[in-house]
Symmetry: C2
């Protein structure tokens, strides 16, 4: 366990806590004071830390994501279930009517009862509540950019129908860890666009 702690950078008390909470399977006991941990433990530990530290997920949500990663479902069902755990819980159940219409207009094939659709509905409601416009032109720009990123995300996942677990882990890690990357890059690009001024960069897509 001390080797696992060293390689992962996670403290021994925290590792013990995760094992007690069922987030990490116990090692294979080799002697009363010794247990073996393998690469799968290290992978799982990294996933849990990423979900907690970067994703800001509760232990209950982490468990939901782990169930998806280790469950017997196919790859796309596993991703859908992982997204369920990853999505922020909206304070109230949002009305998904507009979100469904919008995704339909984009021609995307998505689960009409899935967490990402509720996430979109909540985002639309929040913008509307402060009188911020979310018209078709804005959706087209954002959806176009999101699709480029998402197709790339899927293309770099090691794809294996025989052993889907690493694919699902990679997909979940990518979903959680590349989000702050995308948001940071958007803000930097905004700074750049502001410095250049609207005369040079603005209006081209308006």
């Amino acid at each position: 366990m001390s080797e696992l702690a060293e390689r992962s950078g996670v403290s021994i008390p925290t590792i013990k806590f995760y094992i007690r909470e069922g987030l990490l399977p116990p090692g294979r006991t080799t002697s009363p004071r010794q247990a073996d941990y393998d690469e799968s433990h290290l992978d799982r530990l990294r996933l849990v830390r990423a979900l907690v530290d970067v994703g800001g997920l509760s232990l209950a949500s982490v468990r939901e994501v782990l169930d998806a990663v280790t469950g017997p479902a196919g790859l796309d069902q596993a991703i859908a279930r992982a997204h369920g755990g990853l999505a922020p819980r909206p304070p109230a159940e949002p009305d998904t009517t507009r979100a469904r219409a919008l995704v339909g207009r984009l021609g995307w094939v998505v689960d009409e009862h899935g967490a990402p659709l509720r996430q979109l509905a909540a985002a639309l409601e929040a913008a509307q509540a402060v009188g911020l416009d979310v018209d078709d032109a804005l959706i087209d720009v954002y959806a176009g950019a999101a699709a480029v990123v998402a197709r790339y995300d899927v293309s770099i996942i090691p794809w294996s129908r025989e052993d889907p677990a690493p694919s699902v882990t990679q997909a979940v890690l990518g979903t959680v860890l590349y989000e702050p990357l995308l948001l940071a890059l958007r803000r930097l690009a905004q700074s750049d666009a502001f410095v250049r001024g609207p005369q040079r960069d603005g209006g081209a897509t308006a």
Copy 2:
């Protein structure tokens, strides 16, 4: 005040709390039990709610953003200061060496000591910590998508050098409220790409 509460959907005790905390200027007193509130109060109240509810900001961060919105700085300085309040506080000061090199390679003009650059550095560190690759190919895809979105963001801001306050408010609202929109659309696009399978969509950009 009851009219302000009704139009904003924010309760009177909450409005009183914001005034006490200095997040909302008091109304113009017209009689001992009566005060006038105008459109600027409503705008400010919507901004505070968006920052708290959607942005998940602390009151201290909200104050930082409001100082930027109402400060005497030029528009791009105000945006930079607002970004300072909006950026998540990384647990430790990240090393920005790689983030600066990366932004330099993209040719973006950004503040080398600004919050978004630290945000990018923290995102890179988090991905690296779980062994997730962030190579130039991935950065190019993400930065390209971020730039398209950011240029559009800047293009739709009402631009006025005479009265920059509404521009800054719009820029801050857009930064905060369109983030969940972008993330929800990315997840939906991922679902769509997964359903279509890597054979059809993957690899094109790899």
